[in-house]
């Protein structure tokens, strides 16, 4: 009687134990993994805190950039407007376009910003008329003879002797062949200044005193 009654009890006790074991294993797995996830989330939180602090600094430092850059662009726009206007006023639209195209090849196609009609102007080939050095001097503000010749005419620059264009920029000496240039001394029998002929010229050389 006792053995028959104890068997189901033991069976239930074994089933309980297995259930408790299974639940315990599940709880252990939950605890292990959830604690690990929490640790990783803490690291993520710390990293995001650093990121947020740095992003805050970026926002703070870049706040005035927009206004400053806008102001700089406005100032530079005013400078470009001024220089374009002055160039067109002094050189004329055609020569201005040619001058810019001579220094920056292809720039004539874009034209001037404040002169939309400049993009349709056919640029004279000033870069072929004047040397690049002359254009550079013009760009630097020296008084180079820009546009003194007709761009439609023959080139002023001699390809073989291109230094003449640069030489013309210097003070006058010989390049225009002046009439009042200092003369070289005249020699010969009909020279205006005559000198007495030395007697020893053409005779045997005198013996030196030390030789016998």
């Amino acid at each position: 009687m006792m053995g028959g009654a104890m068997a189901p009890v033991l069976a239930f006790a074994a089933a309980d134990a297995v259930t408790i074991l299974a639940v315990g294993l599940i709880v252990v797995a939950l605890v292990y993994y959830l604690v690990s996830v929490i640790a990783q989330l803490r690291k993520i939180t710390a990293g995001l805190d650093e990121t947020i602090a740095s992003v805050g600094e970026i926002v703070q430092k870049s706040a005035p950039v927009n206004d400053v850059v806008t102001t700089i662009n406005q100032q530079l726009d005013a400078g470009v407007d001024l220089l374009e206007g002055l160039l067109v006023k002094k050189a004329g639209m055609s020569d201005a376009v040619g001058l810019v195209d001579g220094m920056y090849a292809g720039a004539a196609a874009a034209g001037f910003r404040n002169f939309p009609e400049s993009s349709t102007v056919k640029a004279p080939r000033i870069g072929e008329v004047y040397t690049k050095g002359t254009l550079t001097l013009a760009r630097l503000g020296r008084e180079a003879p820009i546009a003194s010749g007709n761009p439609a005419g023959p080139a002023l620059r001699d390809v073989e002797g291109g230094s003449l264009a640069a030489r013309l920029l210097y003070p006058e000496i010989r390049q225009t062949m002046p009439t009042s240039l200092a003369r070289s001394p005249v020699i010969g029998t009909d020279a205006p200044v005559q000198y007495e002929q030395r007697d020893d010229i053409g005779k045997p050389r005198k013996r030196l005193p030390g030789r016998v």
């Binding site: 069976a11 797995a29 939950l30 292990y32 996830v37 990293g47 700089i72 002055l86």
Partner: protein, 85 residues
């Protein structure tokens, strides 16, 4: 009684592996996020350091203003000296 054992079997053979699998996936995902967050933090710190020179834009702005003013004066003088086309 048999159902109980079947339940235990399901608990050990199905529920526990599924729970472990899901939790392991969550842990691996969280672990993989950490290096990315640290790299982002480093990049943000470097970006913030790069912007230290942004304050010099105020000097640049001042210099540009002075330069454009000088160009304007120079252009005004040229306008007087040179004849118009």
């Amino acid at each position: 009684m048999i159902l109980w054992w079947i339940g235990n079997l399901v608990l050990l053979a199905v529920v526990l592996p599924v729970v472990v699998y899901l939790l392991r996936g969550v842990l691996e995902t969280a672990t993989s996020i950490v290096p990315s967050v640290q790299e982002i933090a480093k990049a943000a710190a470097a970006g913030s350091k790069d912007l230290d020179a942004a304050a010099l834009l105020l000097t640049t702005q001042d210099q540009v203003t002075k330069t454009v003013a000088g160009v304007a004066n120079y252009g005004g003088s040229l306008d007087v000296i040179l004849d118009d086309a």
